[in-house]
Symmetry: D2
Subunit: 403 residues, 4 copies
């Protein structure tokens, strides 16, 4: 069960991420998919207020306006401010949002200390929710800063010699009837339940994700010009968006650089390729003679992996070169599984039931967490999901092949 | 193996469908998703020419221009005329297209009679391809005629007393490891292969599809105004398209009529509801306390059903009241399965490999065939697929529930 | 005053123009700005029915549906079929539309012979209206056929040696207070009234319009790449539409051809340049060190010109090389005058008041008529008008300069 | 000739306007037509640097990046940051922009004191340019704040009893040949030149602009539902934008309020109506039996008026009730004149030639200045211009009628 110390630790991490940002930076919304850092600060706070504190005796909300302004998508909780206009809320200002955070944190502490029954399940959900927004805050500010022709840095670069990458190997997996999803005992989202059976055929999975060097071969082999490698919808998107390379890659005279949260940097050939869409991941896999794993293949293989990799806490906000057989951190890995309900799935009751279930359409499951994911937030059964054309998340590729 | 008689029978069916249409009708393209009847006549002919005849010694193409004009989406066969501009091809005119059909039919007959090796697999594929386009020709002309405020009839209505509908029952299915997909021995598309194992949990499936009367209760209960019933993407589409009822339904003073290929008719409460999107099917199921079947649940249940229902050959181009436990005809049934590759799936080699595989993204599987499907075209393993917002096909609902 | 013989002559001209077209050709609508030939045939007929015959005792309309289907933009006469869906009306078919024409022609003849008072002003307006649609029918079918990759011909080319073009000369005009607009005595549209005074400064006007050869020099001098030559709105349109040359020009290995109503033909350097937008005309004039005339400068100069040039009746549906000092025929000439009301302007009373007045915004005046204009339709005071980005009309350039 | 004191006075006024704004407010860009306050602060400074200081010996630019970032639309001065992304420039921050202003102000002062030849014509142009941006800064922040559902105030309201409005009267004007444009002797923009002759017919002009009360009668008489009152383009825009009233009007239970720079306030019936498009002004005039003046009629009448009205300096950022026969201040008045070149017009040489001339298309002239215009900025020959669908400026109506 989560305790107050853990609560403050997670809440404080969000503030730490904003120390690199001015109030003007925190105001930016560069596309409808992204939100201002200020909005993330407020919305994560709103979550505790709307789902927990408003139910408690004697709680006085910080502001009735905020109930409307900082609801993201919970229809059951009433009308909302339009998503694409979040960047127009100069008022309340950043100072007021920080006061809002303090107000809610104090209330949580107060009720806890007074031993008034808090719904600890929702408190824990709120902290995992906040961790999800820590990652989004970073991917969103990265997108916003990338729109500035000065290419400003979010944070100073992390030095260190770049190690050599592991050689690629195939890990063989035997067919069989296995169990998938959360077995309970620790926190999970409702979309990881129930534990259920499924059958896997023989397959082999790569020991690491695809590198920039490998992806460059795909580009140089005309990968972006060969329709036979692409899904029909993917080819259409690629053509209309004029993709030539992963998002944030910038052509220079001699090759490619990329924009990172540490500024404009040369491409490191040994790092995992990231910021690619499902369509690119799928085309790459076809070109390479493999395919993407199903989420069940991934989960089955990952259960035997170590929980290592580059996570949010390192301060290196960019994927690192992989040096051991791990399935976690650095980049989210696209699976070929459309995001859908497990057999017997039931959403949580009430408004939090809108958290996951209503998105089970047109998205693909990603697994494993990234360099922007808090280390304590990820697990083998964790299901992330995005539309297949999205590229602003830290998304990459791990290959499988049939046996 | 397909023979020449079958070839002529299928080819002739397409011409029969056009007997209700003038050359001006055959010119219409009312949206990018639909094609003119004239284009369907030409494209199905092109298929035999492009994949079969062009490979044969001594074959002289009817027109080199047609190779370009009537390719649908085969990138491997070169550039194509833009899809949304098919309705602008007044030339070649209908007479020339019919001559094109005769030319190709004569060539097929000639080679067959001269016993020059034809690829009979591709010939059979071409006939199934043509049957698919027979259905599309009807759904497309229905859409085009619906844009005419005079609501013209495609064909005269079919008289007959409307029987009462069967009472709804649940058919129980036991959990287990089963086989899915085509076992070979007769024609199937590549997306039905390979035969493979999968695990099903306990479930129950309805003995018939949802009726207009049942769907009207959903409407009257505010189904189109309650976001908690809808997928997030679905609610957005519904709002922006301002859906209030199935496609082709027209509000009148006392209730609803609908536009059919037999003109504007009252809603028959006992007929299966049709022309609904995946989003509406999913919302209805949630409202009704059930869910949509997976394609595997559907296939497993349908293997025990009879091959009955209303098909294209009846001349009643509208779903009929269901009077027995059957899974075929009348309406395509949305499943909750995203269209994707079976384990070990391999597309056909060459350009026909583009037939199915490149669409395995963002679409949902439909099963069972409709009143516009030729009877000989459907089977339990058949996988149709459309994007979840599409409504111009004959699409409806069969419910399942967990046990 | 117009008589029955003139009526039949104009009406018959429209039918003659359709003799080159099949019923499928007549169905085409290739953009919202354009209408199907069938619709032009019906709408011009509707005009006589709606404004004249419906007022007469004992007249029986051909079809009540047509009142709705073939209204173009007269709000006062009720609801209308959406403009962009005119191409979806396969029914009524062409035969029925021709019957509609005969019905209305017979009624007009009958009332005239029975000496029942017809509103002859409206009859004359109806004939000028029909002549306008003769030109539109041709520009619209040209656009539709241009969308066909086979580049079909509308009519066979007209042979004949191409003469040399006149050398360019400036005609000097003295400043003064002059009268503009129609002085009455013969037909004019309401927008040519009232006769009114205006002051002109000294200027000089070219003796002929700009040729393809001259326009090619603008292209070769980087005219399409130099923003300083363009209006701000024009540059934006040019960039987003990717214009590189006049509409219908097609680059080949050695230079340019163009698509014409006589098929794909080489550019004749001596012919007037046509199918250019106001923005291109304005940019060319700036590049050439001149400017476009105001409509008053044009009218003043044209009053002294001869009524010669290539008109509709010649059967050469393309501008001809200019061989004398004339201001009429071949191409419409863009003026720098925004289309607006003359001082004291009053629209006609009733629904025909919507003919001109409500378009006096965002359009520019064109003068002089084109090779698609009936010869009897044009006069020095005639004001045509189009939005500045439109190119599918026969539009070109005549230069003026300050003195 | 402008002097240093005047320079500092104008420059300081811009800073005063920003005292009501936080750095977050200054970041907002709520639509492509509008710019952030921070951008206005920088761009007006850039103008002095780009056109004046960069030419002077020894000047060191504050930042080379700013040359690119803060160019608005001068193609001759190189590439520019995309207009619609001005709101994404969190860096440079507000403090740096203020330093940029100080740097440029110090340089201007320094060169002046050292009597190094400054181009005083460009300095004066720069100050008038800055005054234009003072008005835009306010209209743009008004739009941005209006997107905040909290309806925040820009500045505290100005108290004071509201006087009664003058009765409406017609001022008669005689026909004749008159001179228009600037006669020289004091500052004007190039678009006010050259002085030239033009002929006016008899007309009468209203002694004041149309009030809210009068405009409400138009609304209540179905003005927004009667197409016969509207230009065709205007009706289309109104329908697609769903206009029911002037911009910023908010329906409440008993009638209308409006959002102002002083917050949400009741409609004062006697104040001039403002925030209406050209289309609404034109429809109102038609409904009222009058018309809009040409810019020449307006200029002729205004030469005899007093230079009074509510201007920027009052601190009342809203139109005031008109209490005398004046033509200036409170609201810009739409004229029926399309914005175009005067006979013999020549743009200024060099990049400043892009200031006005390239916008002479698709816009209408407005005259008289508004409550947001600095008093010293307006004069009878001043030509403002906007596209006819724009409503975020302080735009209203003065009627004329024919005699």
């Amino acid at each position: 069960m989560v305790n107050l110390e853990q609560y403050h630790k997670v809440r404080n991490q969000t503030l730490l991420l904003c120390e690199h940002l001015s109030s003007e930076d925190c105001q930016l919304q560069s596309m409808p998919d992204a939100s201002p850092a200020k909005w993330h600060l407020a919305h994560t706070t709103w979550f505790f207020e709307a789902f927990l504190l408003n139910e408690l005796p004697g709680y006085r909300p910080f502001s009735l306006d905020f109930q409307y302004l900082f609801n993201s998508y919970y229809n059951s909780l009433g009308e909302r401010h339009p998503r694409h206009q979040r960047g127009l809320l100069s008022r309340p200002n950043l100072t007021e949002i920080l006061q809002y955070r303090s107000h809610v944190d104090a209330a949580i502490a107060d009720y806890t200390e007074r031993k008034i029954a808090i719904n600890f399940q929702l408190l824990e959900l709120g902290l995992h929710h906040e961790q999800q927004h820590q990652e989004l805050l970073l991917t969103d500010i990265k997108h916003a800063l990338s729109c500035n022709p000065l290419y400003p840095k979010y944070a100073p670069p992390v030095d260190g010699a770049s190690p050599g990458v592991m050689p690629h190997q195939w890990l063989k997996m035997e067919a069989g009837l296995f169990e998938f999803g959360s077995a309970g005992g620790s926190f999970c989202f409702d979309n990881e339940t129930p534990l259920h059976r499924g059958y896997l055929h023989n397959f082999a999975i790569a020991n690491r994700s695809v590198t920039n060097e490998e992806y460059l071969q795909f580009i140089q082999d005309g990968g972006y010009q060969r329709p036979e490698l692409w899904l029909s919808d993917g080819w259409y998107v690629k053509e209309s968006q004029q993709w030539q390379a992963p998002m944030y890659w910038i052509a220079n005279d001699t090759g490619w650089e990329s924009f990172t949260l540490h500024g404009r940097l040369p491409i490191n050939p040994h790092e995992p390729v990231c910021h690619i869409s499902y369509y690119e991941a799928d085309a790459y896999a076809r070109w390479a003679g493999g395919r993407l794993p199903t989420e069940f293949e991934w989960e089955h293989a990952a259960r035997s992996g170590v929980h290592a990799g580059n996570f949010l806490e390192s301060g290196q906000y960019h994927p690192a070169v992989q040096v051991m057989h791990n399935f976690f951190g650095d980049i989210w890995e696209w699976t070929s599984s459309a995001y859908s309900a497990y057999p017997g799935y039931q959403p949580l009751p009430g408004a939090v039931g809108e958290y996951n279930g209503k998105f089970m359409c047109n998205q693909f499951v990603l697994r494993g967490g990234s360099c922007l994911t808090p280390s304590s937030h990820i697990r083998p059964t964790y299901r992330n999901f995005f539309h297949p054309d999205k590229r602003w998340q830290m998304t990459g590729i791990r290959l499988v092949k049939n046996l």
